[in-house]
């Protein structure tokens, strides 16, 4: 592999990792701050993608669709937390798994009823639909670079939110000691609602942004969900910083694995997870 090739593959891996981060961040926040195992996270990614499809057809503009979709998904997250998840914080993790697993099926069927089972395309905005030539026969789509940029901004935004704002402090307090936080007069229920809505919103927006590249099809949430959980476990549950490091790591291992060790490419990420857990059972970073 020559230098140019290596650099391009590096770019590929980082870009994939950043998209994974957007999904994993939501999942790790929900798991870390609320202690809820949310298997339906991949479904929110799918819902976001399908929303992008129908709304960009409706509004004729992907950016508008993403903004409206983001608002809708935050509202959806808030509603789900209020109606369902609120009652499961104190329940066994197995109960949460069963609930969210059931939700996956419900969302898939709802998707089938609302949008059908076909494969669909989401139009890329014309302003971003070009590519930068990297070598004489390979170009890099600008849209992917923009996507990576958005994820970086997001990472920054989350970092600022969690470590520099009062709200972020309340998040961290709630994650550290739920009952004490409540005893100190902080409205922990409101915090939970906000975190869940934020998590769902992140997953949904990730789906919307990725839609022009990935196309929109049934079960698109399931493969991405598994990667998401691997990232969260490697990075440490509840740690957004961990999610960032882990998702970049997973992105790079997946990319280089496919090229260098194709026979075991499917296993490499899981082997990475096993290796990390052997050395650090709680993941790379704590809260």
């Amino acid at each position: 592999m020559d230098l140019a090739n290596f650099l391009i593959q590096l770019l590929n891996g980082l870009q994939y990792g950043l998209l994974l981060f957007m999904l994993a961040a939501g999942l790790t926040l929900i798991f870390g701050i609320m202690g809820v195992v949310n298997l339906a996270h991949g479904s929110f990614y799918m819902i976001g993608a399908y929303m992008a499809w129908s709304m960009s057809a409706l509004f004729g503009n992907l950016f508008v669709a993403i903004v409206v979709g983001a608002l809708l998904s935050v509202a959806l997250g808030w509603a789900l937390e209020w109606v369902l998840f609120r009652h499961f914080y104190h329940r066994d993790h197995l109960d949460q798994v069963l609930l969210t697993f059931g939700l996956i099926y419900i969302f898939e069927e709802a998707r089938s009823l609302l949008w059908g089972d076909d494969v669909h395309a989401v139009q890329m905005p014309a302003s971003l639909d070009w590519a930068i030539p990297l070598t004489d026969n390979l170009s890099y789509p600008v849209y992917r670079l923009v996507m990576a940029g958005i994820c970086v901004l997001l990472a920054l935004g989350l970092y600022l939110l969690i470590s520099k704002t009062r709200l972020g402090m309340k998040f961290r307090a709630g994650a550290f000691n739920h009952d004490m936080t409540e005893a100190l007069g902080i409205n922990i229920r409101l915090i939970h609602g906000i975190v869940f809505a934020l998590g769902v919103g992140l997953a949904s927006v990730a789906g919307m942004i990725a839609a022009p590249i990935s196309s929109v099809y049934p079960n698109m949430g399931s493969t991405v969900l598994i990667m998401c959980f691997v990232v969260v476990v490697i990075g440490g549950i509840g740690s957004v910083r961990g999610a960032l490091v882990a998702s970049l790591l997973v992105g790079l291992v997946d990319t280089f694995g496919k090229v260098l060790l194709p026979q075991v490419a499917g296993m490499l990420v899981y082997m990475l997870m096993a290796a990390v857990l052997l050395y650090k059972p709680e993941g790379l970073f704590k809260h």
Binding site: S112, D117, S214, T255, P262, G266
Partner: protein, 395 residues
């Protein structure tokens, strides 16, 4: 005196008498009642559309014959296999044991097909495969009661090699998912491409159903082949077409594929698919009277456009009709029934085809080019392509 023993023995007698009555209809039903046709297809999940299309096509074929098989009325039974291989045997057994079907039409997913295949070989029920291309069903594990009306996984790619070399593309990279269907498609490609004089520079694969192609697209660019041949289907195929074009590879490296690369995904792939060449046993745009009539009738009946799966379902119906007519509806006359189906020539929308010795279609493969969201037929890639049927011992 009403003792418990008396009550129990009298009840047993009554139940015994009553249930012997249940046996009678069974004996009488044998071959004069309705023919029981069981559909085991995906009615939910990713392949739901395919399941519906196959059933639609089958029913259309039957209705063209007045809705009867060999003069007998037909009764339908359905099971949703959910494309779940783990429940394959259970679902197939339900149709055979509980519903007592005479014919089992199914299915789409090759993993589920292996479950059906086991039940078919164990019970001897007539199984018509309207899609699943898994090799072993008409090779090592072929059976006299199993017929396939679709294709085997290597048939489309068996026709690809010659077409590529004829166009001067002598160095190619192959890429697909690392799973059974991908491996079997490669088998056909390897054989036909190397026989025609082509060289496979590298064989790339990624885990199924991973759709992160960027790393391998970069790899392809660095290898600088004349062309890329591939096998992908469904949502993954749409993404591959788009990623391939987005990386600018389509400008210098011609993309070829087994026809499923461009089936049902051209709307989603858009302009990215233009110029892609594929081989398959059918194309929506096939300009023959048989195909035109079929497409018109299907659209009128179901208010939907048919696809290759509808054609396969239709041909399954045609095949069963031929068989049933030959034995005048007596499906228990297996020898004559199977012989009739083995010797049948199906006048299909895809063109005329007949059964190979291992019960797989011998059919022409068309070369198609994508132009403005359509698979335009630009010629016949290879005539009368047959699956080798290696290891099939049926006499």
């Amino acid at each position: 005196m009403t003792t418990r023993r008396l009550v129990l023995s009298r009840s047993a007698a009554i139940i015994g008498a009553a249930s012997s009555g249940l046996l009678l209809p069974e004996i009488v039903r044998a071959q004069s009642g309705k023919v029981r046709v069981g559909f085991m297809l995906p009615y939910t999940g990713t392949f739901a559309q395919l399941g519906v299309a196959i059933e639609n096509g089958f029913r259309m074929a039957l209705n063209e014959q007045g809705g009867k098989l060999g003069g007998r009325e037909v009764e339908f039974f359905k099971v949703d296999d959910e494309s779940n291989p783990a429940k394959g045997i259970e679902n197939a057994s339900r149709l055979v044991e509980r519903d007592k079907v005479d014919v089992l039409v199914g299915t789409v997913h090759s993993g589920v097909q292996m479950g059906i295949h086991k039940v078919a070989r164990d019970t001897g029920v007539l199984n018509l495969i309207p899609n699943a291309g898994v090799h072993i069903a008409t090779r090592g594990q072929c059976a006299p009661n199993v017929f396939r009306t679709s294709f085997s996984n290597s048939q489309p790619t068996l026709a690809l090699g010659k077409a590529m070399v004829e166009r001067g593309h002598k160095k190619a990279v192959w890429i697909t998912w690392n799973y059974a269907a991908g491996d079997e498609a490669f088998e056909g490609f390897e054989k036909s491409y190397t026989e025609a004089g082509g060289t496979i520079i590298k064989k790339l694969g990624l885990p199924f159903p991973n759709v992160e192609f960027q790393a391998l697209l970069t790899e392809i660019a660095s290898l600088k082949p004349d062309a890329v041949a591939c096998f992908f289907a469904g949502g993954g195929a749409a993404k591959f077409l788009r990623d391939y074009a987005a990386a600018g590879l389509n400008k210098n490296i011609q993309l070829y594929g087994s026809g499923f690369l461009t089936e049902g995904v051209l709307d989603a792939a858009g302009d990215a698919a233009n110029g892609v060449l594929t081989t398959m046993h059918y194309s929506d745009s096939l300009d023959t009277p048989a195909n035109k009539k079929f497409r018109l009738d299907y659209a009128k009946t179901f208010k939907l456009q048919p696809d290759v799966y509808a054609v396969q379902g239709y041909d399954t119906g045609l095949l069963l009709v031929k068989g049933a007519n030959a034995v005048k509806g007596d499906l228990s006359n297996k020898k004559a029934l199977y012989a009739a189906m083995e010797g049948a020539t199906i006048d299909s929308p895809r063109g005329k085809w007949s059964m190979s010795k291992s019960h797989n279609p011998v059919q022409d493969m068309y070369l198609r080019k994508v132009d403005n969201k359509e698979n335009k037929v630009i010629g016949i890639a290879q005539k009368a392509v047959a699956d080798p049927g290696t290891g099939c011992r049926m006499g």
